[in-house]
Each structure stands twice: as C-alpha cells, then as structure tokens.
C-alpha cells in the first residue's frame, strides 16, 4: 500500500459524526476528550504512516460503557477505533474516516487468576507487563511478549506474538475466550473456560487478529504457565547469518523445545551494544533460552551447543541468573529503540514477514542483498524459530524519495515471502500498511473475510479502513 493511497483516504467524515459526538458528550461528560494533543496521541503509531486523527477520544471504564458508545455510534454511523497502548506498527489506530478513538487503558483490572486451571481473566487495558507483575507471587506467568508493553486487548486484536512464541504459541493459542461488544452493541462471550471445545464456530479465533474490525474486545480469558523450575539464557556468535539460521533450522527440525531463539544480525548487534550497553562482537548472534527441569535444561543446552558447533558458531555464553537474563531480554525488546541510534534523526520503519523455516536462510539472504543494493540501512532481527523476521528501515521520512525506496523494498520483501509460501506479516498485522498484499497472499479468501465483515458490521463502523477496504468505506 503506497503512502499516497492511504493518505488519499483521509477524513471523508461520516455525516452522522457530529450528532453522535454531541450525544456522547452528553452521556460521558469530560471523559470524551476532543483536544488535539490527546487526539494526536491516540493516532500515534510507531510507523512512517502519518497520523489520521479521530474527532474525539473516549476513556471507557466498563463493558456497559463500551456498549453505550457502540450503540450511539451505530445509530449515527460513526467509526470507532479501539485503542490499547498505541504500539501497533501498521497504522491500526489511525482514524482515516474520523470518529472516536476508544481508549481502553482504564479497563485495567485483573479480574481473576485461576491458578488451579492455569488461566486468568483480565480487562483489555491490562498490559502484558502489568499482568506478569500481578502474577509475581503465584509462580505463574503469561509468555506472549511483543517488543512493546502492549495491552492484552490490543495483543489479542492483532494476534501478537513475540520471542516466546516458538515454545508457547501466539495470542491465537493463548486466548481461551473473549468478551466482545459487536457492531450492534451486543455483548458476546465466545467460549467457556474449558481447555478445549467443539461447540460451534471458533469465534475466539475469529476475533483474535481481527484488528478491531469486527468488535471491541472487552475481556479476555488467557492461558497461564508455571514458571519453569530452571531457566537458562544464552548468546552465541556466528560468522554469518546463514550459519546462524542453519543452526535454527536444525534446532526446530530436531524438535528441541527451545523457549526462545532470536536472531540479531551484525548491524542489530551494533545498535544493541550502543543502546543497551552490551559488548558483544559485531557479528550475527542467536539469543536463546531453555525452560524445564534442571536436567532437561542442561540436556537442551548441551544439544543446542552441539548444533551450534556443527553450524560453525562460536561459544554459547550462558546467563542463568535472573538479572543477567533480564538484561539480555530487555536489550532484545528494546531493539526498535536501539535501531534508531544507527541513524540519528531517522525514523524506524519496522516490517515483518514469516516463511516456512526451510526457506528462512534464503529469504534473509536475499533480503539483506536487496537492502544493500538499495542503499538502505536495514538491521534484521527475528523470531527465527517460527520463520518470522523483522527488518527495520532507518529512513528520513521528510524525504519522499527515501520513503518511496523503503516502500519498494517492503513490497519486494512481501513478494519474496509470498513466493516462498510465506505470509506478508507474521505478527504485525495488516492494518493500513499491508492491505495491498493481502489479496496476493490469500486471493479469494479475502472475499470471505469481506463477507464476514459486512455481515457483522454492515455500517462499517468498527475500525474502518483496516485489513481491507470496502465499497462502503
């Protein structure tokens, strides 16, 4: 999707918006905020896609309040853009057709922790770090960790994953059920708390990844896991990316239950050394982690070390103390901010693709060569155990030629992933930025998605303009 096309959609405001806003102001008083700073902060995204501001921001505090908002919006055909922390990367929280940004950050209660059943129920504004903080004394944790301290509602809406997905799955696998307010204002619960069910359509999985276009997630039931008896992290250097990726492929194919296996290329290591005060040699590295009993962790680490040696990698430096591990993974999670240091003043355009693991080395090789040929500063990091990697392009977004070059690069990257039977996005979602690739990826299946969207949101008020465009938009 070229930037120009996205911007061309800006602000064809729906006719009923003013009336709806007046009705909301009457109902919600000063929790409906129209100041420009607040509106701008709510269309903020860490992308190159410019802000498209909502007409107002509503800070909701309960499911009935969300229902009231949606009913008013539905009556007047006004768009609603659900907002968690604004850390999405593809323009998900922009408001190209105006309307209300629904800020869910005040719905931030952990409603229950069912330690016996390894699950919990939370409101959508709880962030992943807040949940783990809440769980601190229970011996349990929630594993899904996108880079940002995102809200769990937003993570579900975008089907987020992160470094632990290779072992624990993504939000797809870890959301047991959600409550959602649908476009007609009805409140549904998609499933009970049983671990598995075959009762009807899997509406949980339909809402997870729907990017707010079908309903507003107002409550989540999530799987939890016991904190492993033993955790061992480590880093290990490679001479080149291909060798590192080959070690990953072998690890996955052997079925080694690695908990995390992350690639940082040489440029990423340089950025991380600078930002996070590390002193790793500036070559590609794998960051890994093993979970299990002491004997199992020792066995996994030993097997992995043998794979690394076999792949020509260097020594596995391990970190078993909690502080060392935290420091390592904080550095990994801070990568986006670290990358900005590679070109002061530039913005980072983060994009991701995911391919079958057998094609991962080829895909990364070709992508690196392409970036070099295009003269782009483009560090690569990735959740490589899943075949998923990220390229962060450091771009002067005031220069149209640079943006155009970045867009051409991202298009080639998406096409490369599709040619390898992969996807144009492993975890960032489609939003506005990747709408142009969805048809190439899934063909006529996109018509089925549109039919579902139209059936469940006939007025197209739920986060319009995301995932795909509709005639009515």
């Amino acid at each position: 999707m070229a930037l120009a096309d996205i911007l061309a959609e800006d602000r064809p405001k729906r006719p009923g918006t003013e009336t709806a806003l007046a009705e909301l102001a009457e109902t919600f008083g000063d929790r409906l905020v129209a100041g420009e700073d607040v509106r701008r902060a709510h269309s903020h995204t860490t992308t190159y896609i410019p802000n498209q501001l909502p007409d107002a921001v509503l800070f909701a505090r309960s499911e009935p309040e969300v229902q009231t908002l949606v009913k008013i919006a539905a009556k007047h055909g006004m768009p609603i853009v659900p907002f968690g922390t604004g850390s999405s990367l593809e323009g998900h929280v922009n408001a190209p057709f105006g309307g209300v940004s629904l800020d869910l950050s005040e719905m931030d209660r952990v409603l229950s922790v069912n330690a016996e059943d390894l699950d919990c129920t939370v409101e959508p504004g709880v962030t992943r770090e807040a949940l783990n903080e809440h769980l601190r004394d229970t011996g349990l944790f929630f594993p899904i960790d996108p880079g940002a301290n995102a809200s769990l509602g937003g993570m579900a809406a975008t089907r987020a994953s992160g470094t632990n997905a290779v072992r624990y799955g993504t939000m797809r696998d870890n959301v047991v059920a959600v409550n959602a307010v649908m476009a007609d204002g009805s409140l549904i619960r998609t499933a009970r708390r049983a671990k598995k069910t075959s009762a009807g359509y899997d509406l949980t999985r339909l809402l997870v990844g729907s990017e707010g276009t079908l309903g507003v997630i107002t409550r989540l039931n999530l799987k939890l896991y016991g904190i492993p008896e033993q955790i061992l992290s480590g880093v290990c250097p490679f001479e080149d990316v291909t060798n590192a990726v080959n070690a990953v492929i072998q690890t996955i194919q052997m079925g080694l239950p690695v908990a995390r296996i992350e690639l940082l290329d040489a440029l990423s290591i340089r950025a991380t050394n600078g930002y996070s005060k590390m002193d790793l040699p500036e070559t590609p590295h794998l960051f890994v982690e093993f979970h299990g009993s002491p004997a199992s962790v020792a066995e996994q680490a030993e097997t992995f070390a043998a794979i690394v040696e076999d792949s020509g990698g260097g020594e596995l430096k391990s970190a078993s103390r909690a502080e060392e591990r935290s420091r390592l993974w904080k550095a990994r999670h801070d990568f986006y901010w670290a990358s900005l240091g590679l070109r002061p003043g530039a913005k980072g355009i983060a994009t991701d693709v995911c391919v079958p693991v057998s094609r991962l080395a080829d895909c990364i090789d070709e992508t690196r060569a392409d970036a070099e040929a295009a003269g782009l500063i483009a560090p690569i990091v990735g959740h490589v155990g899943d075949g998923n990697f990220h390229v962060t392009l450091l771009i002067d977004t005031d220069e149209a030629a640079e943006i155009a070059s970045a867009e051409r690069f991202m298009k080639r990257l998406a096409e490369r992933a599709l040619d390898m039977d992969g996807t144009c996005t492993g975890e960032h979602g489609i939003g506005q930025g990747k709408r142009g690739y969805l048809g190439a990826e899934l063909g006529e299946a996109v018509n089925v998605m549109r039919a579902i969207k139209t059936a469940l949101d006939p007025l197209n008020i739920m986060n319009p303009g995301k995932i795909f465009t509709l005639d009515t938009a």
Copy 2:
C-alpha cells in the same frame, strides 16, 4: 435436543433437488449413486439418532469436481452433506433435508510431506492411520487420534482431538491451512504454509469445527512432529475415580508435559478386559504416556509416580516396547466397541463434556452418582488432562423409555458442565444431537455464528440443520 424434535425435521425436501440430481447424473455418470444401501451407509452414525438418508451419494475425485457439485447444488438450492468415514457421533452426516452426501474418501492422496518444515499437505479423505502409515519411514507422525480411524477432512470439520491433545493440541492447533469450496463454488485457501501469520481473519480456525456448514474442506496442510526419541507408556490403578482425577489435576498443574493421560473407570476396565483381552484389576485406572529424550522421559515417569503415590494410587506398570504400547492404546481406542459388551444387544450412546480441570473430579463424581440413580449403565473414560470425559450409555434403543431416560441424563450432564463453566462438547461437536445446548452455553454469540452462516451460505445448502437451525432451514 430431543430425538423427537430431530426426527420432526425429516425430509422437507428442497424443491430444486430433483433437477439438481438430474444435472449431477448427467455430469458424473455412475459416480452419483442412488441405491438405498449406499445412501443408508452414508447417513450411518454411531449414535442413537436414526438415519436420515440423502437422495444420492456422489464420490468426488478432485477439487474441480467438488466445485462443480457445489455450483449445481447452489443453482438449485439443494443441500450437500460432506462425508469422510461416517464416524462422527452427533448426527453430523445425516441429511434431514435430503440432497447429496458428498463422499470424499476417494480424495485420499498425501500430496506432499515437507519434512524440513514439519508439515504435510493431504486430501480430505486420507485417514489418520493412513497418514501415519505413509509417514512411517520419515521419523515423523501426526498426533491427533480420535477413537475411530477418521478422515482428516472430517477431523478438521469437527475440530477433533483425542488422547494426545493434552500435549499436542487438537485439530484447531494442528491445521495450518485448508482449501475449501465455499457455498458459491469458489475455492479458497485460508493461509500460506508459514508457521504463524497475522494476515487477516483466521479463516482456518473458522472452518475447523464448522462441521461442513460453511464449506467443504478439500485439502489440508497439517503440522507434523518428530517421533520422540523415547516413548514410555504405563497403567496405574486407583481405588476410586476421585483419587485418579486428583492425580491428573496435580500432573497438569505441575506442568508435567505428559503426552497422554486417560481415565478408565472400573466399568470401563471390565469392558476393556473383556474385549481387548487385558487382565487389569477392575478398579479405575490411568493410562499414561511420556515422550522425550531418555533422560526426560525417565524424569517425567518418576515425577508422575510420586504424584500417583501421593494420590493413593497403585504401582505404575510401564510398557516401553512398541508392541506393548500399541496393545495398550489399541485397547483404549477400541473402548467404544468394548463398551457394547457390557450389555449385549444394546447400542452405545457416546456423549462428552469438558470442564476446567479444577472442576473435573466434582463433575465426574456427580455424573457417576446421577447415572447410578437413573439406573443407567454408563462407563466413563476420558482425556482427563484436558478436563474432557466421555460417558457411553448402553441403551436398548427400541425402548422409548430408555431413550428418554438417556436424553434426560445427557441434558443434566451438559447442564452440569455448563454450571462449571465448561462446554457441552469437548470434541464430539454439536451436530444435531447437541444443538439444544449451544444457546445455553454461548448465548448471543450464537447469533454471530448464524450471521456468519447466513452471509457465507445464504441458501443454507451446506450441511443444513447442523450446529443450529435457521429460519431458512
């Protein structure tokens, strides 16, 4: 759903059916079969729900043929009932509104095995045993194992699981993508072969478990796993079911990665001893299995033995040789047939529920007491690690009073599971038999399911009368 209500729907044939059948006969020649025996065999289900015969059976051989069938059916508004092996339990393959049973058993090719990516692509008529036979020399296996040797298309359509689900998940977790012919005859592919994706709505999970009501699954991409280096099975006796279930709960809560953990109550053991020539003491037993490296399996077995001792169970008798293990699990898989021996001449009505594991002991206790009070022969077995268990009622289905008593028992069972925040079916599906509970379980969410059904199949030709009824049905 009372039997009487289901039967009352029988055969209000759609007006265009004869014309559609004539057109199909012209197109498919003798692969369209109208003989009563064949039609009866295609509405066969292992339930008490009587046969409702289709008007004809079509043996399709390719995706284009399925598309041709669906287009003809759509033109004339004729129902299509997809058919794999007919082993579903809730009337899924009955044809209450007539039309064509679409037999997919001749679409039985394994199209590719991508050992490097741990996945494979198969046609829907491949059975789970045929796939594992095909994989024999690859070191890989597909874990999902409902009792019957079901077709993989049918297993996906009903979101099947089985004994390995506690470790490997259900069909929900193991289908990467499907091809499906939708109600307008269009052929879609729901996802690429990447391990994870956040590109648009999760149509894969929407089709998995949709029971043929949204489209016909014509191809599946499935996850595979390396055969574990070491496999250890075992059986261990308990004095009563509560102790056995408590051992299970502790195992799950500790996060022990058990691959299988199955409960058979005393009555089930008696049946299994008789049918499968075992000589286990007639008390409740757990059948378990551990997968991993030799050290990990030894560690798991040791931990489990300690849990069993703690729960008052008897000695864990282990079986590590392949033949012993096969014999044990064959006995478990043959349980349905074994149960028929408890009352010669009776039919077995198999039903299942699933509850949060913390409620499992209560649910099983109350269910046993209820069966006893109702004078029903009702052995209980279950995939208890998931909180999922089965009750098989041995019933003389010629006696209306017995059927009525069984129906009342099943209603109480479903309500009990719902009261415990569980589901009316963990793995059998809704079909015809459990339509009456879906509303109680999911409330307004069922309206969302209906809206999706109506949007994607406006003529209600795809397996009508299953999961829910529609005004148009």
